[in-house]
């Protein structure tokens, strides 16, 4: 068990009975939930973690052949549930973690009570009538940006310690120690995420779920959220009335309220 806890840098906060598991999105780590998780610690047991290859996880456990599809990341979630003997978890996944949660819940529905998808997309690329929002050329432009800013991306992956006030010096120190992250790993994560297509899996979900949709989200437009709502049994669709792809960072109070409304009713 300690292996998984260490491997995925699992952190547990709060004293509640019910477990709420927050899964970060592309390019980040568990610190992305910094403005949100505190609001749940009074009533829930809050669990945060880093996917293998991100944040403070054990980077040596990253094997390209294991993480060449979202299935590999879903296994991280299942491993954590198994190691902590979790059942009937409320799972909140941002961005790509929405589909990771879907894959995990298809495999072990008993682990989950409800799923919350924050800015989800079952397929990022446009395909015929389906509007995922991105063209292949857009993705190539993004990959080029990642190439030109790989240092920035490594900074993105740098660990930051939750609950501690980090001075800028401390942050720089952490970032410096982390710049050695292979850009190929992050490139691989970007490709796995953005080229994936999970539309065919949506109809098989048996766990109730919520789609939280932002306005003006370049990564996941409203058409992508609506597609999920239409094709996933038991999915509720809610507009957040905030823009961008990271509402938990830009409008945390709206995200907190939406999640609470859903899981408490």
């Amino acid at each position: 068990m300690t292996d998984i806890i260490k491997r995925n840098n699992v952190k547990i906060f709060g004293n509640g009975e019910k477990v709420i598991l927050f899964a970060h999105g592309f390019g980040g780590d568990q610190t992305a939930w910094r403005y949100v998780f505190d609001a749940f610690t009074d009533d829930y047991k809050v669990i945060l973690f880093d996917y293998v290859g991100t944040g403070n996880s054990d980077h040596s456990a990253y094997k390209p052949e294991l993480y060449n599809s979202l299935r590999g990341f879903a296994q991280d979630v299942l491993d954590i549930c198994k190691a902590l003997q979790l059942n009937q978890v409320i799972y909140v996944g941002h961005s790509v973690s929405s589909m990771i949660g879907l894959l995990a819940a298809l495999e072990k529905p008993e682990y989950f009570e409800k799923l919350v998808f924050l800015g989800p997309s079952a397929r990022y690329l446009n395909d015929g009538d389906y509007i995922g929002g991105l063209e292949r050329s857009d993705l190539d432009a993004l990959f080029e940006m990642l190439d030109h800013n790989y240092l920035g991306f490594s900074q993105m992956m740098a660990p930051a310690i939750m609950g501690e006030k980090n001075t800028i010096e401390k942050q720089n120190e952490l970032t410096d120690s982390f710049c050695a992250v292979d850009p190929a790993v992050s490139q691989n994560f970007a490709r796995v995420t953005l080229l994936s297509d999970h539309r065919a899996k949506l109809p098989f979900l048996t766990v109730p779920s919520l789609t939280l949709q932002c306005m003006d989200d370049v990564m996941a437009p409203e058409t992508a959220g609506q597609y999920i709502q239409k094709n996933t049994p038991g999915n509720t669709y809610l507009e957040l009335y905030t823009s961008g792809h990271c509402p938990h960072l830009s409008s945390p109070e709206k995200v907190i309220k939406a999640i609470k409304d859903y899981i408490q009713n």
Binding site: D147, G152, V218, G244, L249, S250, S251
Partner: protein, 350 residues
């Protein structure tokens, strides 16, 4: 130079003037990206008026497609987490479907309650620098391609090929090497490589290599290396320094050839030659002995008819009788022919 008029000076150093005419673009926007202020410099670069941007556009609207995605996925989370971003390379879109490359720094401004209320960003136009960077990137990619080409070429040839850094540390071995020595769980680590050498040679080879690297001279040595059977076989290791135009060693190109059969044949040939030589020397010394024996045993046989001849010649000198002389001559003839037979026999024996 004329001093500035106080009015002019006030204007030039006023905050407003400095803000609008700063040599970099400045833009301020709310956490959701809505731009509420932008300076003249940036407006001039973009080619839009203040009215077309303020309250109309979000920060990511002025970025290229890749930049929009990158901003949402990477830059914004990073900005939120650490409070700033530095030197992020964004392309800023222009009206006429072109773009200019820029470096963006941004900081988060927080309210008293710790919530983000605004983001201030500076935009630096880096068109020329970007060209230079692209050149650099291209050279780096070319170098990488060259390296890959070299590696695949070296993997095709049946020989073991390796390279070392200028300091002598091995940094590449082709697939052939790993096929040959896969048993030993080898890597390019010094300690692992040394294990391949015969214990008796290790020190000496290591010393030779260090010397070659120090002096920048060609390295060549025949060594015993451990094969998968556990047996040692002979290999010829060669390395030549590769020098840059400044005559400095950049790296070493090396080969490693199995010469076991050749060395063993050489050794066999030397052994055979030694055997032939000792046989020859035996033959020569036995011949010498025969000659000595012949010389010894034959000398008195020659001596006898010769002594007769000398005695008979003396008699001839002192005797005047013709009949006696005739008898002496007949005896001389007999002794001479005896001597002739003896000499012939000696020649025949030799």
């Amino acid at each position: 130079m004329e001093p500035l008029h106080p009015n002019q000076q006030d204007l030039l150093t006023s905050t407003e003037f400095l803000y609008e005419n700063s040599p970099c673009g400045i833009v301020s926007f709310s956490p959701d990206g809505n731009i509420f202020r932008v300076n003249k410099t940036l407006l001039n670069w973009i080619g839009l008026s203040c009215e077309e941007i303020v309250g109309q556009k979000k920060f990511h609207d002025i970025l290229s497609v890749g930049g929009k995605l990158y901003y949402q996925m990477v830059a914004l989370p990073l900005l939120n987490r650490q409070g700033f971003i530095n030197e992020i390379n964004f392309d800023i879109d222009l009206k006429n479907d072109t773009a200019f490359p820029s470096l963006v720094n941004a900081i988060i401004i927080k309210g008293d309650d710790g919530k983000t209320i605004a983001i201030h960003a500076t935009v630096l136009k880096i068109t020329d620098r970007k060209k230079y960077e692209s050149e650099l990137l291209r050279s780096k990619q070319l170098a990488e391609e060259e390296r890959k080409r070299f590696e695949s070429l070296s993997n095709i040839i049946p020989e073991i090929i390796w390279t070392a850094l200028a300091n002598g540390n091995i940094n590449f071995m082709n697939e052939r090497f790993f096929e040959y020595f896969k048993h030993a769980n080898v890597s390019s680590k010094k300690s692992a490589l040394i294990q391949l050498f015969h214990p008796q040679h290790r020190k000496e080879i290591f010393k030779l290599w260090v010397e070659a690297v120090k002096n920048g001279e060609k390295f060549e040595a025949e060594v015993l290396l451990k094969k998968h059977s556990g047996n040692f076989e002979w290999f010829l290791i060669r390395a030549v320094p590769y020098k840059n135009p400044n005559d400095q060693i950049e790296m070493w190109f090396g080969s490693c050839t199995n010469v076991h059969e050749h060395v063993m044949q050489q050794k066999l040939a030397v052994e055979n030659l030694n055997n032939s030589l000792s046989e020859a020397s035996y033959i020569i010394s036995s011949k010498e002995k025969t000659l000595e024996e012949i010389a010894y045993s034959q000398s008195h046989m020659v001596r006898r008819p010769l002594a007769n001849i000398i005695g008979l010649v003396e008699m001839l000198e002192t005797t005047e009788e013709t009949s006696a002389n005739n008898a002496i001559v007949a005896m001389l003839k007999q002794s001479a022919s005896e001597l002739d037979v003896t000499v012939k026999e000696i020649v025949f024996k030799v």
